[in-house]
Symmetry: C2
Subunit: 407 residues, 2 copies
Amino acid sequence: MKKNAIVGQSGGPTAVINGSLYGVVSEGLKQAEKIGQVYGMINGIEGFLAGRCMDIGALSETNELEYVKTTPGSYLGSCRYKLPESLSDPVYPELFKKLEEKDIGYFFYIGGNDSMDTVSKLSRYAAGINSDIRFIGIPKTIDNDLVHTDHTPGFGSAAKYVGTTVREIATDAMVYDNKQSVTIIEIMGRHAGWLTAAGALARKFEGDNPVLIYLPEVAFDQDAFIAKVKESLKSTPNLVVCISEGINDGKGKFICEYASDVGVDNFGHKMLTGSGKYLENLVKEKLGVKVRSVELNVCQRCSSTLLSAADLDEAVNAGIHGVQAALSGETGKMVTFIRQPGSSYELSYGTADVNLICNEEKPVPQDWITQDGSDISEEFIAYALPLIQGNVAIPEKDGLPIFAYRK
Amino acid sequence: MKKNAIVGQSGGPTAVINGSLYGVVSEGLKQAEKIGQVYGMINGIEGFLAGRCMDIGALSETNELEYVKTTPGSYLGSCRYKLPESLSDPVYPELFKKLEEKDIGYFFYIGGNDSMDTVSKLSRYAAGINSDIRFIGIPKTIDNDLVHTDHTPGFGSAAKYVGTTVREIATDAMVYDNKQSVTIIEIMGRHAGWLTAAGALARKFEGDNPVLIYLPEVAFDQDAFIAKVKESLKSTPNLVVCISEGINDGKGKFICEYASDVGVDNFGHKMLTGSGKYLENLVKEKLGVKVRSVELNVCQRCSSTLLSAADLDEAVNAGIHGVQAALSGETGKMVTFIRQPGSSYELSYGTADVNLICNEEKPVPQDWITQDGSDISEEFIAYALPLIQGNVAIPEKDGLPIFAYRK
């Protein structure tokens, strides 16, 4: 008997989270003999609970679904709603009643760690009440920190953005190469340094900028940092340093929190400044050289111009594979990427128990980080390079990208 | 009699300043019956005085000159060196002796306002000593604030970057559209608001984000701003605001300076924070909504990915036209862009007396700014759109752009 499908997006967006949405919707429509309507929940599970839902399958009647594929942000809107730990909470029967009203048989949730927690709870509740609704998680995160998958959709495009942009900024930073300067680039990643490591892709030759790269996986020592910067300036007068927003002292304190020890703004609030800004002030104070900090900010996760074709393809495939897994009877699973052994890059798709994923984080391996913690190794480059290959032609009008949006 | 040419770059780079360098060098090489060597001064006039010079014409023997064309930053390096006001300063004979040693007949300087001041002084000194060296300025600035030219090379690509990136950030900002939020985007331009105005290009429909745009040409009233944000949130719950880094109170004080009235960092220094960060704190305090600020920073001037094909073409042509002007006997001139009247965009190239340019600034016309100073008009869109057209295919390797650099 034909059932309907529903798809939602949750957590912070990536440049390809809508690629996975496209994959789910297009495959859902293709499987018309097994799937009826394809619905989209607006603002994730939170919006769905409030009755917000759309017929996203209908987008295929115009160009809109094609536009969705390369539009940054979350087309359906997102939420940061955590379902209650106790499966006897009344929200569960309420939610399943709403799912049954829409005759849902297949539920797809595109997101990171927290979204997999939602998939876990819903599939466990379903098992408890003998519901036959199948729950599948589609991974996404620029942080690349999900376990049981080689990498996550969204990381490749963010890494391409970081590699390209750090190379551009380093080129810009060279223009006064008769004077010393330090440029500190702050990159997203609170707990895992994968994206910051992608700064290494920017190097054009051995010893090129960024000379120093600091990840949150290693305790950050401020004195050692200053000594390293001082030493590096001797061979690289216009020094570029990449740091993760999440660098910390190894004792549970973020480096950016050192700034707020003293600074207070106009309104008497503690100054909230990034780690980059804090280190900018530190270098200025200790070394007296010209220094600036650049925060790459949300552009890392929403640049459509620097989409990686490999990443977008895999994101779409993740959505397609999720639908196929659900149809073949799987539930409580997340789609995973399996890299085939060997020197050429080949990827296959699988699934893993979502319960093994939702409360874990995958850091950059310690042996991919150099001994003094100021650089990453060639293993990372070999791992990351296949993920940033290829460009995507974005539909354009008047010199600007066309993005889909809900009217 | 055949003379040599020399070219330099000065001031902050743009995404196409190397396009103009390419234009000068390729045209210089093409005019081989009139021009001998084509030299490049390293780090502008300051480096040249220190004897730093290269045979840039030789780059055409490999792919390197083609790579230069689309490389951000200043390939030759830059300087911020101001020649003395008094033409009787000993630096002038020293400089001309060095020019004569290299048998220079043609001198090209690619830069903004201050660089045109250099061209002015050198051409006036040359007239005084009856030197026949010809001095030509090639304009560049993302600020678009040079007079006697319709626009400047570098502005189009920066405007394309701003239009695209603001559209991407606005799309990202929409994902929690069931909650109120304010995103403040800080755009370069200390005195002229041209680039900030380009934020308006991001709108996909009337009333779309960025709903508010503030330029330095209008005195910024903090109370009026808060009232406007509050009002705008009613119709646009995820509000995006573009501000120029140079917004000021109209009495000579930048808005960012209000922050440093109180804030002091760890080292007892006044906190230097941008206008965006200051307004982020202000909105948080006054309206209590979720707010973040994003500084587009140097990416505005060094993004090769978002090069405008129109801008790059014109930048190359500006270099070519400069060489042709020098060969036809002109000196003490800057290359200018003349937009032909009519509805279709057509550009011709001319020259103007560099003395009329070097100490002037061109603001955005007051009648292109809406009455309450919170938006710009359709005239600006019509002016800017032709300048952001077309994409440039950047040579690539391993998924990243190839950039030229001096070994």
